[in-house]
């Protein structure tokens, strides 16, 4: 996997065939986080908390639906996702890179939740949950590469 920055902030990701196929398999897991997973507040002392929580859950559900749409459009656009003889080329605008990070981390955190939110090492791997462990690790690996490439140039406004 090779990432390069182009003028204008575009990020070009060159993937070998196996890497590209792996990324496609990981992205198929999206969305992975259970809906209404995150509380707005831990203390429960906010005014109209139930209503505000509902609004937050709806906003996050809409955002996930939008990300799913953007992901489908990206993978169907040969200008941005090109299959080559030896692999794939992904061309991302800075905006694309941000929502792709959100997608990858949804898969990572969602897989971790499915695994029982372990504090340390994942215990009790079996045929059923191995795919979640794999998705968590692979999404994390792609995410780390993307963050490293983005932060090369980003040091705040």
């Amino acid at each position: 996997m090779k990432l390069t920055r182009r003028p204008g902030g575009r990020l070009v990701v060159e993937l070998g065939r196996r890497e590209g196929n792996l990324l496609l398999l990981v992205l198929k897991q999206y969305p992975c986080l259970p809906p209404a997973h995150q509380p707005l507040s831990k203390s429960g002392l906010l005014p109209n908390q139930q209503d505000t929580q509902q609004l937050l859950d709806e906003a996050l559900a809409e955002q996930r639906a939008e990300c799913k749409k953007q992901l489908r459009a990206l993978l169907a656009d040969p200008q941005r996702f090109k299959k080559k003889t030896d692999g794939y080329r992904l061309s991302l605008s800075p905006g694309d890179a941000e929502w792709l990070l959100q997608v990858l981390n949804d898969i990572r955190v969602g897989s971790w939740v499915i695994l029982g939110s372990p504090e340390g090492r994942v215990e009790g791997l079996n045929v059923e949950n191995a795919k979640n462990y794999w998705a968590m690790e692979m999404a994390g690996a792609f995410q780390a590469e993307l963050v490293a490439a983005l932060d090369d140039e980003w040091d705040g406004p």
Binding site: L33, Q38, P39, L40, S41, K42, S43, L45, L46, P47, T52, L56, A59, L60, Q63, E98, L101, Q102, N105, D106, R108, V109, G110, W112, S117, P118, E119, G120, M136, G140, Q143, A144, V147, A148, L150, D151, W154, D155, G156, P157
Partner: protein
């Protein structure tokens, strides 16, 4: 050192600061990020930079606070702004909540 002024109380007005409800416009809400074992440190730093527009140094300071102390108060805002920031952070699947600043 200047002497402390005696507070003036207007007759007929009862001052009740303890039970005063926080208005939505008052910056009385804390946006907190909590530690979890799944989010990578560089990712958390990146998200803080994007969501708050912080320099890397400030974002790293708060990320380390989350990592070492279990949580970090990222900002103190009005209710609406705090909701906005929690939404932005949760979009990136960070463990963020808002709490009243008691």
């Amino acid at each position: 050192m200047a002497a402390t002024a005696t507070p003036e109380v207007v007759p007929g007005v009862i001052q009740d600061t303890e039970n005063k409800p926080k208005s939505g416009l008052e910056p009385g809400y804390l946006v907190i990020c909590w530690n979890d074992p799944v989010n990578y440190m560089h990712y958390v730093t990146h998200v803080f930079q994007v969501v708050f527009g912080w320099q890397r140094k400030k974002a790293e300071f708060h990320m380390l606070q989350v990592h070492e102390q279990g949580k970090s108060v990222l900002t103190r805002e009005s209710m609406e702004k705090a909701e906005h920031y929690v939404h932005q952070l949760q979009k990136y699947s960070l463990h963020a909540t808002m709490e009243r600043d008691e």
